[in-house]
Amino acid sequence: MKNLSKYIVVWTACALVWMLGSPVALGDTLKVCNTCEYHSVKEAVSKAKAGDVVLVDGGVYLESGIEITKPISLIGRNNPVIDGQNSGQIITITSSNVKVEGFTVQNVAVSYMRDDAAIRVADRENIQILNNTVLNTYFGIYLQNADNSIVKGNVVKGVNTGKIESALGNAIHVWRTDGAEVSGNKVEGHRDGIYFEYVTNSLIHENISERNNRYGLHFMFSDGNVYTRNIFRKNGAGVAVMYTRNIRMEHNTFEDNWGSAAYGLLLKDISQSVILNNTFRRNTTGIYMESSSRLYIENNDFDRNGWAIRLLASCIQDTFRLNNFTGNSFDVSTNGSPTMNLFEHNYWDKYSGYDLNKNRVGDVPYRPVSLYSMLVERVPPSVMFMRSFMVDLMDSIERVLPSFIPESLVDERPLMKKVNHDSDRKLVQNLR
């Protein structure tokens, strides 16, 4: 019921917007350029009335502190550049139904007190920030309490070489917002690429987040979000998601997150979520799971990671099905004996069993936790003996006669061949 009333409110709001918006086409157009009536964006914006369009032509505008307090559209043509010259926040939006499109916004200095951003939205709804380029700023695009806003097609690029974490802001920062859409953005060189806190029912789609100092994507307390077809690459610590329920992560790529504390995907206190069809390639740890329960991790590819999955003993009732594990140093490692987790119908390249009845499912169980991975978990320095002949020997013996590795972590029905997630529908149906 609550949901329904929410929809009604949203639809009414939309209808109102449409009715209010219809005069937009009829509103005045205020032009800004060297030879136009207005020479500065700030001046035009302050003169504009609700529903007007401020059209800015190409050129460099040395301005900051532009405050949009009315529902107007600020449109850039021929790529105008607004250069803040490190003198504070550039565009601040304190009105609903505002659209900012087609600008290059650059140079915002670090401000520990105010968290200055290139474009900030505060406590208003239905904001559209489209196709802008944000260069060399502290925070890039900052949404606080801005329901139903769209951040789409922007490029946010910072300079993070030689900077420490605390001297950097987030590229796209969203806080306490419902129904946001963040899609098609390319973010790099900031602290966190995309940062969500208390963001609900939002869509994060086709973004590319790379070379950020800390996380490519970072969210906490953000229930009910959908993450699809994003790419997270070469971030200092990969992707971290914490204290959240009901999320869907599908078709994302997590790759090349290398280093001493890098994870493809770090899950902490996540529950009732699905992680489908993602690719984890060449990460130190593909998925690191702590206190996470009731997750469905299916149809993912884990390729050439150090640890494909680190499943801590605090995880319960997680399901791993139809995943491919290829070329990982360790398939699964754990620090104790996690209970009630299910591994079924995965493909493991280290599996050496047989399939006598030719049903494509191996007849002997596979134990993805190796003795050596237990040893490394307990005594990290023993990682020095990786690929030593003795270690291989030890692991083979343990596989045949398991005595140390946890009994509960076993794939009773491993697949003989790699799953091709797109074309193996029939196989998958047979197995279900």
Binding site: S260, G306, W307, V379, P380, P381, S382
Partner: protein, 255 residues
């Protein structure tokens, strides 16, 4: 001395084993590089095989050669030549011919398929291991006159360095897991040239990034020029100690 080395080399080349060894390594390397896909993967598989076969062949060949040329050495001892000179010529003759075989068998394929610093480390490691295990072979040979016993000791040494040592160290690490063992492990690695070589090559490959926090710590040590220099310095010590010890034994004993 040069003249004796020349005769030793001539003798070794004539008995064809060294040619077979070269061909074996050559086939192995080319095969692995063509099989592996990426050069890194080829290097990795090659590393494992090199660390297993090169010590074995070096130590067995060194021991048998020493016993087979016993009469030649006795002949030389009767001449006015110093014993240490005879011994060093024998040693260098064997070590140089085996490392030449290694350079051709592994060095050339590495140069062709995976040129770069890591490939260089692999080849250098192989050459050092050849020198070290020939030295250990000679040490085993001067200890006893009995050929069977000598070969037995040599094989035991190989078994210890290639297999048992890792097992012992892993057991120690497991038993003392509650203590900080980062630097202790480093020292324990340096006490086995095979491990030292493996770690040196492994940590300079891409896969090292996959080894987590501790791996990163060791990479910061072995990835730096200083660390690599130190590792090779330890390798030089590993050559010098058995060579000098066995030379001393050879000059003093009753033949």
């Amino acid at each position: 001395m040069n003249k004796i080395i020349k005769y030793v080399l001539y003798d070794i080349v004539r008995n064809k084993i060294i040619v077979a060894y070269t061909l074996f390594l050559l086939l192995l390397s080319i095969g692995l590089f063509n099989l592996g896909g990426s050069p890194d993967k080829g290097l990795l598989s090659l590393l494992n095989l090199v660390l297993l076969t090169v010590p074995l062949i070096s130590i067995v060949f060194g021991t048998t050669h020493f016993y087979n040329s016993y009469e030649f050495m006795e002949l030389l001892v009767s001449q006015p030549i110093r014993r240490s000179k005879i011994f060093m010529s024998e040693y260098l003759g064997v070590a140089l011919s085996l490392s030449a075989a290694f350079m051709i068998g592994v060095g050339i394929p590495v140069l062709l398929f995976a040129p770069g610093a890591t490939g260089l480390y692999l080849v250098l490691t192989g050459v050092f291991i050849t020198f070290i295990f020939v030295a250990l072979a000679f040490l085993a040979s001067v200890i006893t006159r009995d050929k069977a016993k000598g070969i037995g000791i040599a094989l035991l040494l190989w078994f210890y360095f290639a297999l048992i040592y890792d097992g012992i160290v892993l057991f120690i690490l497991y038993s003392f897991g509650d203590y900080p063992l980062e630097y202790a492990t480093l020292v324990l690695t340096a006490l086995n040239p095979v491990d030292l070589g493996r770690v040196l090559v492994l940590l300079n490959l891409d896969v090292s990034a996959m080894m987590g926090y501790t791996g990163a710590l060791y990479k910061s040590i072995f990835g730096s020029l200083w660390g690599i220099g130190l590792a090779f310095a330890v390798m030089v010590l590993w050559v010098l100690v058995p060579v000098l010890a066995s030379r001393r034994a050879f000059t003093r004993r009753d033949l």
